[in-house]
Symmetry: C2
Subunit: 229 residues, 2 copies
């Protein structure tokens, strides 16, 4: 399955799909930036606040890169972001952390699932677009501080494990629910994934494989936090 950069000019349906992809990524990064920075206020001290803030600041940098790419395609970034803003705001509204531990589990799990998903999607787009998607997904390592913090909190108070495991499941549940909402309304993005108008297609079996890989990576991440998946 190959897509070429030329398709961005010769194939309007492919072009619309890529604009959707960059738009959802851009608004995702902008909202992740705002929410992570604001969750940093839950930190027990400036050291922990600075770690989450650093992660947030790098999301803002990605937002700028994606906006510039959309502009270079002749698209107003905010027009491209607009169709996805409500679903992503709803995700964050439904998953506002009530304390610092919930905040960092959300940063770790949410960033992880999103990164896995977009890295998979990168396989279905032209090399230039793929390189940008991989780049904005590249510093997942920034959330690693969560692992140590969650593990030692659960060690000190084992009762936390149940609540945080439930929280992790709720995060993924809300993400899937909003993703389904987007899928139902954004044809260009879905066509990009299903390849409706092209033989450069991932088929349904591939999509199922993709979802399995994402789910199992999520389980592995919960395990690293010391929590049931």
């Amino acid at each position: 399955m190959t897509r070429s950069v030329d398709e961005l000019t010769t194939n309007p349906s492919y072009r619309a799909g890529v604009i959707d992809l960059l738009g959802v990524l851009a608004v995702g990064e902008l909202l992740a930036f705002q929410r992570l920075a604001s969750d940093a206020a839950l930190a027990p001290g400036t050291r922990e606040a600075a770690a989450l803030s650093g992660m947030a600041a790098s999301e803002y940098g990605h937002f700028v890169q994606l906006s510039e790419r959309l502009e270079s395609l002749g698209v107003d970034p905010h027009d491209a972001m607009e169709p996805f803003a409500v679903a992503l705001e709803e995700y964050h509204r439904m998953t506002a952390p009530s304390d610092w531990l919930e905040g960092i589990v959300k940063a770790y799990v949410g960033d992880g699932v999103a990164t896995d998903f977009f890295r998979e999607v990168a396989r279905y787009v032209d090399p230039e677009t793929a390189a940008l998607v991989m780049e904005v997904c590249s510093d997942f390592g920034r959330a690693e501080f969560a692992v140590e913090a969650v593990r030692s909190a659960v060690e000190a108070d084992p009762r936390l494990a149940g609540r945080l495991a439930l929280w992790g499941r709720r995060l993924v549940g809300e993400a899937v629910s909003q993703a389904q909402h987007v899928a139902a309304t954004r044809e260009p993005l879905i066509a990009l994934l299903l390849g409706e108008d092209s033989d450069a297609v991932p088929n349904l079996a591939e999509i199922a494989g993709l979802l399995n890989r994402i789910t199992s990576a999520h389980g592995a991440r919960m395990g690293r936090l010391g929590l049931a998946g």
Copy 2:
């Protein structure tokens, strides 16, 4: 009045003052980052949210610069920040905006007063420290988008002018109140300004002049927003 970089090693009281100055700036930038980014959620659309987020992201960059400078002085940045965290958190807690307009007035007015103050303080420190302080205060221009937004909102609904003018006064009142609290408890920073142990001193008349300049610049900024100072 001159201070030399050498005093950072030869004059423990001056060194303690500079560490306090960098510490209060660092925690101020970190909290401003978190609060601006979180206030971006009040924006009417992604365009406005992106403008405030850009301002927040640059505050995070300043935080990193200040932390690195403290480390190069052999100081843990978080130890230097700690004495100021409570007062600054209290300022933000007392001035949480209830809507987008209050948020951008706060960004514009708060950033303006802080920048004026630290630029004045830069006159009392060695050239290297001064250059860093001026640099982290250099992109006040980022808040300029607030001017247009506030003016056109007040034009559309003139009743807003009274509420926002009151809000501006409250912001400065809370800032002064927290600054007094800091002044009462942080001798090294005050000694830096009053020059207690040195003849490189601003005297009390100079301090009064500084406060007058800051107050009148604040009035001018409120005027630019179309609000009574």
